[in-house]
Symmetry: C2
Subunit: 398 residues, 2 copies
């Protein structure tokens, strides 16, 4: 019989945050303790807002802070994680940010239980072994196709067997310009590697603009076209999917519950479902999506852009799926992100990565190294300090 005794947040940030779309510039780590054991997780979410979601005053019975369902809850086995998830969903039903905060906590609960039981999380999720994954390099299209070609060649030389280009100029200009970029990317990486393209929602819900790019995408044998549209414009996605011969659609990173991702498979007709465990509510809902993907001929891919802790967590839900081998890998993260764990997950000579073999998530946090990135947050409501908490106190869940 153990209960959740404490939940502590660590908001880390680089001294300067640039406005590049580089998610490794800050991080929100979560440490949970129960029965003398620690578990760690990471929210892929705005840190200040996520902390506020844990401590905010309740608005009513279905708009309570995330802490309500978590602190003092029983944590004996996996079923307890799902029970707490249900409680968060109910008590924080009207608090939109809640699931982003909960995602990091849920990750930490799996890590904690795994460490207590001496088992890796993928085993607790029902897999008999962790298969190697093939990381792809994630690169931005450059203004000049010649530069895109150079970046592509460089990533190929580094040993990546799959390379993704996205954002930047792509989708904004003429069809010819996009075709030139695509050809530069394909020629740069060479014939034997996988090429993926990320449109970064650039076409809103405009099917025609996306359809007009299909033949150029097909001619460079793009494996997937990621986020051509805003996530919920299902009819645009489904129409584009039906018009495409060989290029499959990829999406799902913003899904904040399992059903949203399942709907992308069932209605938007994606061929690759990309799940961020730091947003979807953690590993439990992510595994449910993986099962649905397997049953519907869709490939599961992680979405990860920060630390090796987040990377390990993001791979667990599909660790045992041999045919779902592509994986997102933070290519050039900020030093903040790489210093978080004592262990690193590095690509081997075959262009593969392997989950660490230790219990839980298989990584440990270097509390000393992260100190210099710590951000102090203080939240006071009606002269009562809500964060950091005034003292550790146990709260019981009625």
């Amino acid at each position: 019989m153990a209960t959740i005794e404490s939940v502590d947040f660590f908001y880390l940030a680089m001294p300067q945050i640039t406005l590049d779309v580089d998610g490794s510039q800050d991080a929100l780590l979560v440490r949970v303790t129960s029965g003398g054991i620690e578990g760690w997780g990471e929210c892929e979410a705005a840190p200040l807002v996520s902390i506020a979601s844990f401590v905010c005053p309740p608005s009513h019975g279905a708009c309570q802070p995330v802490g309500r369902a978590v602190l003092g809850a029983e944590l004996n086995d996996v079923a307890d994680i799902f029970a707490i998830a249900d409680a968060v969903r109910y008590f924080s039903m009207d608090l939109l940010q809640a699931v982003h905060t909960w995602s990091g906590i849920e990750m930490a609960l799996w890590d904690l239980l795994g460490k207590r039981q001496g088992r890796p999380v993928w085993s607790m999720l029902g897999y008999s072994q962790a298969m190697p994954k093939r990381p792809y390099a994630s690169l931005l299209f450059r203004e000049d196709p010649a530069d895109t070609f150079k970046d592509a060649s460089k990533a190929a030389a580094e040993g990546f067997t799959a390379i993704k280009f996205g954002w930047g100029v792509f989708g904004k200009g003429t069809l010819q310009k996009d075709a030139d970029q695509l050809r530069a990317a394909r020629e740069g990486i060479g014939a034997g590697r996988d090429l993926m393209i990320d449109a970064g929602q650039i076409w809103g819900d405009d099917v025609d603009r996306a359809v007009s790019r299909l033949s150029a995408l097909e001619s460079v044998r793009a494996v997937w076209l990621e986020e051509p549209f805003i996530p919920d414009a299902f009819q645009s996605w489904a129409t584009l999917s039906s018009r495409s011969k060989s290029v499959r659609l990829a999406g799902g990173e913003a899904a904040h519950n399992a059903e949203m991702a399942i709907n992308l498979i069932d209605y938007a007709k994606v061929g690759f479902i990309q799940i961020d465990c730091g947003r979807i509510g953690g590993l439990g809902p992510a595994k449910r999506v993986a099962d649905h993907a397997v049953n519907h001929g869709v490939i599961y891919v992680n979405h990860t852009f920060t630390s090796f802790l987040a990377l390990s967590a993001s791979i667990q839900p599909y660790a045992g799926l041999k045919d779902h081998d592509i994986c997102e890998y933070p290519g050039a993260p900020k030093e903040l992100a790489t210093c978080i764990t004592n262990e690193a997950i590095k690509m081997d000579r075959d262009g593969a990565i392997h989950l660490p073999s230790g219990p839980g998530l298989g990584v440990t946090v270097n509390e000393n190294a992260i100190k210099k990135y710590m951000v102090d947050v203080e939240i006071t409501v009606n002269r009562r300090r809500l964060f950091p908490p005034m003292k550790k106190c146990k709260r019981s869940v009625e």
Copy 2:
């Protein structure tokens, strides 16, 4: 040429917040000023978390605070509101709570433009007149069907032509108990009034439990069954809808963009779409949903539980739709909610309500009356106070 000069938040709360599911216990008002004119809006959202979303440090280019896209933006006509909405969606893409904060701001922008142009908002949304709406009383099922009967009779005596029962014991016990409750509600309100039922997501995604209630719902001529399932379990919704002869499904209150609500119509097969303007991103997306509902034979209904400001805003997007006449009306709100505006929207002898005729949202905020409910919030990050802002400063949007 006017720009948005300031955005101020007013967090109001009753001295004691109970854990009843009563959303009128607190409120987050927003005041926007531009060119010497004020507009007011209200977020239907956790106040502290929503304030944090406006002022938080950026995490990266697509995870910036809501203030980034709003402060200093041009506000000359309606197109500017949509442009700012697009900017919020882009710059705060990864900040989940952003849309709840933005919803109140968007409302205030319509109010402000309406006041500047001397026009009511429904006119700016394209309607030629505001039709009366028929408020329904929203009541909770009681433990004893005899009490449910009494509450139903009382609401009928008060003149309500439509009455909704929900939550409490409904759906949790035996089929017979639910049938008894439904019959008590119908007998209490009498034959000539509309009866709606709210299941409060009680069946998760379990179709069988919901289907088993259909004949009892049909026998009391329920107009709608609201939220039988969690919002994103579309296949459960669609199956239940196809199995129902006369009872239509209602849902949508949690939709946080127009596409999510449109998907509920297209895929979940709801017959009533319930939109909370304080969550979906304001009046612009709500009107888009109303247009889609009209085109697909679905009835639009507002979702509102707080002040007359929120009520006025929630009716504007379907003000001109004569056949979409049912409206949610805060039945017994806390004093906090009723004191917010100088004007009240009251039911007339025919059981109808009418939008106030003034420009904008047609109501004005009683800044004196709300003072006693004001909640002080202070947020400091690395010893820099983010809220309340240290001084008014104009920020330009690059």
